[in-house]
Structure formats: C-alpha cells, structure tokens
C-alpha cells in the first residue's frame, strides 16, 4: 500500500508545494513560527528526540540525541545541512530540493533554532547548480517574509542560511571533510576526536544533518510525535525515501514507511514494478555502494535499520540497487571499486594504494581477460589490509564490493581463472554490465 500521506515527498499530496505560497497555505513555516515565538530550543530538541527521528545520511544515528551532544554554553554554533549526495545510487536529496524546497529550508531553520545556531550552511555537491539556485530562491523568499535574518518575528532570534556549492568530491559528504571544504581547504577528513559537536566548523560546536533528515523536522513539529510514529517501526520510526535503481521496471524515489520487505519495494506495481524482462534478482545493494551486498534470495528482509543490520548489511543512504543475473559479480565489484579509487582522497595509505591495487587487479581479470589463480587470495588480502585500517569510512566502504563479491560469488572468480587457464579467452570480458538506468 502506498502512503496516502507523505512526510517528505509531499509534492505527491499537494501539487505545487514547491511554490512558497502553496507551501505556506498548507501549514508551511507554521511550526517554525511557533517554535521561535513560543518554544524553547530544548523543547524542540525534546520533540525530535521523542519522535525517534534517525539520521538519513547513512549512519542512522538518532537526530535528537546527536543535537544533545553540543557542549553547554559554547557559542557560536553552526548547523550544517549535508547535501553532498554522492553515494552511488542515491538521488533523493536532489528530488526533495526540486519539488519541496521550502520544507527543507524550514527544516534547516527549525533545527538551527533547536541547536541555538545563528548561522546554517547548506553544503551542496558541486554538480547541483540548478538545485542550488532553487534553494537560494527559497531562502531569499524566507528572508523577504521575515522568517530569516535579524530578530525573527520579534523573538530576538537571528538566523542566516547560506548555500555553498562544493567542487564535486564524494569525500566531502564525510562530515569533517565537508567542514574542511566549507572552510576553503582541500576536502579531506579530519582526525576524530574532537567530534564536530565539540569542535567542528571553524573549531566551533557544529551539528551536521542530511537533507532528508532535516526535511522531516517541520512535519514532526507540525503534526506531532504520535502522527509521525504511526509510520515505520518502533526503532525506525517514520518514512524513508528509497532511491531504487538497477534492473527494475520503475526506478525512482519512493517514500515508504520503514519495515517494508525488499520484495514489495522491488515488485509492487506502485514502486519498482518488478524486474525488467522478468529476469531474476541476483544482487541487491540496499544502502548505496558502501553497503555489503545481499543475494537475490533475501527478498523477505525488511527495509529498516535493524533488519538490514541483522542480514549483515546496512540501510545506509537508502539507495537500493537491484541487479539481475546478467551482471557478473567480479565486474560489478570492479566498477564499484573504480568509483572508490577515483574518489579516494589520498590521505591514508590503505585507501590510496589499496583501491588502486584492487581496481588494477579486477580490471585485468574482468576487462583484459588475464586472471590467475593467485589473484583470488591476493584480492582477499588486499581488502584485508584495508578493512579496519583506513582513516575514514571511504576506504572501509571500498572493501564492501570486493568482499561481498568474493564471499557471495566465489565461483565467478574461479571461472575467470579457468577461462584464462584454458586459453579460450578472447581478451574481452564476455558479459559486460548491462546499462543500468
């Protein structure tokens, strides 16, 4: 059953919600006005905590709890909205901004008030030029309406929101690399601790939340905790915008309550509409390129943080990539690790050199048609030398594709070795990855 009422993708309920006036007519900015005029920041934090909102960027950490980590009495503080959206397979932030930008801006404003920040930055991936203009227009309108700026609605609260476009690096989605980039430095992760809540942007206490997380906040305040908790599960309340891609009939963003089985997302006519050409599901990557893979028989796993963790993977950014049996696991691992190699910042040795070596070997095995028996233990040990030893999660993520492929489909690697061994190989990989929409 598709949702009859959405939390984030409300353009499906209210056509034209991207227009400020229509957003306002449907209660938009009301929650913010009430908060600023009548509620204490702590009260707003308490509501978000009670609603059980969890960060949608990947880690799934409870948002209200995160806000509580700020050291008391240290100012200025900053609120950052992470719109670097660059996890392969993830594309919901862009759609939120295209269709429902005012709710995001209101979410940023409420959250900034809640954490007592007078400045908020929306850090956008460099490629999102059009989306940045949309947001800038939405922010300008909010200023014009007196919702942002100095002494908002006579409350004494000041807030400025800035949009900043990065230069298009995956690593800048990592919170500390994002801050480095925002400060004008090279986008590379910082040593933790100190954590951003203690010393983040410009060394000041900083909260950083994902676009989808912040877009949830106005609805939680406007409609209440009980309304919000009717969606999802006890531990994963609310809804999630899943970005469904791969060999499904209807790829796209679908907002569904947490806890739906994978089968329904893929096969329901309201969502994925089944597999193209009715081919079987071979591999599901449920949380973006960084998530361990599931095999096609895991369709009953439900889409919530706990169930996916139980299945040995993670919900991550909610990018569900579904691949059919035309895809060769070694080739898929090669393509995904090539992404991580390209995006490796170079700061730490295992990620910088490990991704290079992985890709080099996988390219030879899958594209050049030269695979040797010793490649398989070598691949195992390369990712083993990376896993747990990298500076940040990028290197750890790069381990997932190759580790998953070797664990779930070892026979395909052995087959590559055999093909090479009997001299039948034509030097070109027989089955290239079918184009993935």
């Amino acid at each position: 059953m598709a949702l009859t009422e959405h939390v984030v993708m409300r353009e499906l309920d209210i056509p034209g919600i991207g227009d400020f006036d229509i957003y306002r007519q449907h209660g938009g900015w009301d929650a913010y006005c009430v908060a600023v005029k009548e509620q204490t920041p702590a009260a707003v934090v308490a509501v978000v905590k009670e609603a059980g909102l969890r960060g949608r960027g990947g880690a799934g950490f409870p948002t209200g709890v995160k806000w509580g980590f700020l050291p008391k009495g240290v100012y200025p503080r900053y609120l950052l909205c992470n719109c670097d959206e660059s996890e392969p397979g993830t594309f919901n932030n862009h759609q939120i901004i295209d269709n429902n930008p005012h709710q995001l801006v209101e979410g940023v404003a409420i959250s900034a008030y809640a954490v007592e920040a007078n400045t908020a930055y929306i850090y956008m991936r460099g490629e999102f030029a059009a989306a940045a203009r949309t947001l800038e227009a939405a922010i300008a309108r909010a200023y014009a309406e007196g919702l942002l700026g100095k002494n908002i609605l006579g409350s004494g609260y000041d807030l400025d929101i800035h949009v900043h476009r990065g230069a298009g690096a995956y690593i800048c989605g990592e919170e500390t690399a994002l801050m480095e980039s925002l400060e004008g430095k090279i986008g590379q992760p910082r040593l933790k601790p100190p954590f951003p809540a203690v010393a983040g942007l410009y060394g000041k206490p900083t909260i950083i939340n994902n676009v989808e997380t912040l877009t949830n906040v106005p609805m939680i305040l406007q409609k209440g905790v009980a309304w919000y908790r009717q969606f999802g599960t006890e531990k994963s309340p609310g809804t999630k915008c899943f970005s469904l891609s791969g060999h499904v009939n209807r790829p796209g963003n679908y907002e569904i309550p947490f806890g739906l089985p994978l089968r329904e997302l893929i096969y329901s006519p309201e969502y994925g509409g089944g597999m193209r050409d009715n081919r079987p599901v071979k591999i599901i990557i449920p949380g973006g390129a960084s998530a361990p893979w599931l095999t096609g028989d895991k369709l009953d796993v439900t889409l919530d943080y706990e169930a996916l963790a139980g299945a040995g993977t993670m919900l991550g950014s909610g990018a569900v990539i579904v691949l059919n049996d035309t895809v060769q696991a070694p080739h898929l691992a090669y393509k995904m690790d090539e992404f991580f190699k390209h995006e490796s910042c170079g700061k730490c040795t295992p990620c910088r050199e490990g991704t290079h070596w992985l890709v080099k070997t996988l390219h030879r095995m899958t594209e050049e048609g030269h695979a040797y028996a010793e490649d398989i233990p070598t691949l195992h040990s390369i990712y083993g030398q990376m896993a747990g030893n990298c500076f940040c999660l990028l290197g750890e993520s790069a381990v997932m594709p190759i580790k998953s492929a070797l664990r779930l489909f070892p026979q395909e690697f052995e087959q590559l070795v055999t093909q090479n061994g009997n001299g039948q190989h034509n030097g070109k990989h027989p089955i290239a990855l079918e184009s993935v929409r």
Partner: protein, 482 residues
C-alpha cells in the same frame, strides 16, 4: 603532571597524562614504527603505520567501577579494530599490544602498500642509508611485493619547490610532515596539497616558491628522499660522511650543528639536537651558508709580514712568532701590557678558551665589543636579566612572560623565533615591542610600537616601571655589580 599507568607488551610503565601510545612505548624501549608521526608535530594519523591493539579496563555501567576477573585483575576490553598509536592518548589501565599477528599483518600491509607507489630508486637517492622507509621496510616490511604491475606513480622528477628544496613526487609517501612543520612550527604555511588519491602531491603555495627561512628542516624530517636540498643533492652518500660536532656562529643563537665531512671536505651542515638551544632545528642560513669555507678568496695559511710584504708561512712559524712577540712584551712591560679582543660571533666555548689563555698570560684585559667605548650597556643588562645561565626555553610556557625589544628574530636569530613561538603556543605571554611589524608579531600576545631610535628609551622606561613595582628587590640584587 600526574602519571597514568599503562601496560605495553606486558611491561607496566607510568607516563604523563596526554602522552600518546607511540611515545609511551618509546619510554619502555618498544618501537612502534611511524611515518607521519613526528614527536615535534601534532599527530595526523594518516600513514596508518603505527596501528596497534589497544584495550582499556572494562567498566561496569551500573557501578562505574572496573570489572575484575577471578584473580582480582581488571578485565580488559580490547577495541575491535586496530588503533593508530600516534593519535591515541594513554589512559589509566590501558593495555597496548604491539607484536601480535594482527599488528604485524597491518604493518606489513601498510609497507607493502607504500612500496607499490614508491620508485625504490634507493641507489641514486640522497636519503639512502638514513631513510626511515628503508629501515622500517627492513624491520617490519614484507620480503617481497605481490604487486606485479609495472605501475609506479610517475611524475616529472624532481621539481623545484623553491631555490633550495627539490621535491621528488614519486618518492613522496604523503605523510605531510613537511606541510605540518611549515604550518605549525615555522609559521610559514607555504606548502600544501594538490590533486587527490594516488596523484595527491605536495605543492608550494608561495611566490617565490617555498618562501621560508626554515625550509631545510623539511629535508631532515622527510621520512623518504622526497625532499632534498640543492646544497647536498648528489654530493655524497651518507655512509661516507663523518659527523663533527660544532656550533653555528652565524647568529647569536649558537645552534648546535654537525659538520658532515667526507675526508676533509664539508658536504653538509645538519642540526644537532640540543633542547636548550635549537631543539632539532636550524635555519637555512646555518644549513646552507657554509660555502665560504671552501672559497678561494679565503686565507688558508698564516701570513707573516716580512720586509713590508705578507708572505705565506706554516702554522708552526706563525705560532712561534706570536709566542716570541708575547714573551718580549711580557718581559719588557709585564702582563698588563697585553690585552685581547675576541669577535662577538665566536661560540661561548671559543671565548672561554680565549679568556683562559689571556688569564694564563696574567692579563685581565679582555673585551669582545666592537663599538666605541661608552656605548650603551644594554648587552650586559640582557645578560643579567634576560636569557642567561640556567634559562630553559623548553620550560617556558604558561605563567611566563617573554619580552622581545627592538629585535626581528626571524632575520637576526631565526631559531629563536621558533622557540619564542613555541613558548607562546604553550600558553606563555609573548610581548613584542618594535618600531615596525615583524613576523613574530603573529605569535605575540601583546604588540607594542615605539618611534625610531626609541628602543633604548623604551627598555629603560620599562625597567623603571618594573623597578617601581613588584620586582624592585630582586632586580636590584641581580643588577648590582659584584
């Protein structure tokens, strides 16, 4: 500072709060290999060479008391992942394991990774023989690489970062020691990074390139042969060199240096650690300003004036002549008829020897000043109340005030600038008084300006104010002659 007890490979040791695991291990003679970590720089945790297993006492969440096993010993909860020792401060009861199978695999893995990019051109590399990458590979690395590609990183080789320093990007292992030295110690943030991934590389951001008076130090702390100096490049193999301890005489700091000689030829000047003077740094003047020693314009033998012209002589002849002249004056007019003037640039050791010699002759007529008689005696005053015997620059920090009057240390005594900066970094007050801004102003906690030629007036006024206030008794006692 209070100590915390840690156990490193079974050895218990008490180390000061705030010590990191790598330094704590060194205190019990346990070497944790490092590339990016340097004891003088803030840890970066980038190279991943210092991965070790770390555990802390398990704490009962209810009682907040350590959980004890059946023998009454605290139960240690080991962290699931290896941790970088350089970025982990010690804590009470911490257990560190540096020689387990997991640690050995990680160390071997990191070295294998580093060597997949490194050109291994050791036979033509100036660092060969004193190279941490060579040494650590011998001790912790794999015997051979499984990286079967002819696929080292290739760059133009080398590039000039500035007039003095060359960068070989192929050899660079991207530890950022040089960048952090320039940012944190030298306060010349002129190095940075460009590109990313395997193409990540060091660049100079200044015009002219590598614009710093301390650039040579980066070649010392570079753990590979990526940074080499124009002065020493391809001059000698380090194992041919014999290091002679010396003191640099080019400025008043008196940095401890070693003169690295090949036979009788000076090949390079290196810093010699002395915490009280220059720590482990020297300035580029001291490091590179030694070519005059081999200049053909220099006097290389004594000259004796005979019949109105200076003629070469042997040292024996010259010393004989001087001794005869001294003897003649002493016997005719007594010891008070001789005196000695020594150049103020000489080291303390040279000056000590000189005065000892004069006093042996029976003369107290000694001086080192090159000004006119009656010139201001500020020098003497500084010797009494400034940096004198027993001053430990390392101990100065929080709770001390340093006043710098009319000096531009970066130009006049470069290494003092590093020491003064460090005092300010440690929380000391640094008052910089000058008629114009200097680079030290950046580190100052208080900046004062006075007019042209007003420095002595300023100093006297300051002393007067001090006299009139709290320190009158002490200062008076210390500045009275005798």
């Amino acid at each position: 500072m209070p100590d915390v007890n840690v156990t490193i490979d079974g050895v218990r040791v008490a180390v000061p709060v705030g010590t990191n695991v790598v330094d704590a291990a060194r205190m019990v003679q346990t070497a944790i290999p490092v590339f990016c970590y340097h004891p003088r720089l803030k840890p970066a945790g980038m190279c991943r060479m210092c991965l070790v297993q770390i555990g802390t006492p398990k704490v009962d969440p209810a009682t907040r008391q350590p959980v004890l096993d059946e023998n009454g010993q605290p139960v240690i909860a080991m962290m699931p992942k290896l941790q970088t020792g350089c970025t982990t401060p010690v804590s009470e009861g911490m257990v560190v394991k540096t020689v387990t199978e997991e640690v050995a695999a990680a160390q071997k893995g990191v070295l294998e990774f580093l060597l997949t990019s490194h050109p291994l051109d050791c036979p033509v590399c100036d660092k060969g023989g004193e190279c941490p990458l060579q040494n650590l590979t011998m001790q912790w690395g794999p015997g051979k690489s499984r990286f079967d590609y002819n696929d080292k990183v290739h760059f133009e080789k080398p590039v000039k970062l500035g007039d003095l320093i060359y960068l070989d990007r192929e050899r660079c292992i991207l530890c950022s020691r040089c960048v952090r030295f320039q940012d944190d110690i030298a306060d010349d943030p002129v190095l940075g990074f460009d590109m990313r991934g395997r193409n990540w590389q060091i660049i100079s951001k200044s015009e002219p390139g590598f614009d710093s008076k301390f650039s040579g130090n980066t070649t010392d702390i570079c753990p590979v042969g990526a940074l080499t100096s124009a002065d020493f490049r391809f001059k000698a193999r380090v194992w041919e060199l014999e290091s002679k301890p010396a003191v640099c005489t080019l400025c008043p700091v008196g940095c401890n240096v070693s003169l690295d000689m090949r036979h009788d030829e000076l090949m390079r000047v290196m810093p010699r650690e002395n915490a009280a003077v220059n720590d482990i740094w020297i300035c580029d003047k001291g490091r590179f300003g030694h070519r005059f020693i081999a200049s053909s314009d220099r006097l290389t033998t004594p000259l004796i004036r005979r019949n109105g012209t200076l003629q070469p002589a042997t040292w024996e002849q010259a010393l004989q002549l001087v001794a005869e002249k001294f003897a003649a004056v002493l016997s005719s007019s007594g010891p008070q008829a001789v005196g000695g003037i020594a150049a103020p640039r000489l080291s303390n050791e040279d000056l000590y020897t000189f005065q000892k010699f004069m006093r042996q002759l029976g003369s107290d007529n000694l001086d080192h000043r090159v000004g006119a008689p009656g010139a201001p005696v500020l020098d003497d005053l500084v010797a009494d109340v400034g940096v004198g015997v027993g001053t430990d620059l390392n101990a100065l920090g929080q709770g001390t005030t340093v006043i710098v009057v009319g000096a531009d240390p970066e130009e006049e005594a470069p290494v003092y600038m590093l020491r003064l900066r460090a005092i300010a970094e440690r929380g000391g007050h640094l008052v910089v008084a000058n008629l114009r801004p200097t680079k030290l102003d950046r580190s100052a906690t208080l900046r004062l300006r006075y007019g042209l030629n007003r420095d002595i007036a300023f100093a006297r006024a300051l002393l007067k104010a001090v006299h009139e206030q709290v320190a009158f008794q002490n200062l008076n006692a210390r500045t009275q002659p005798g």
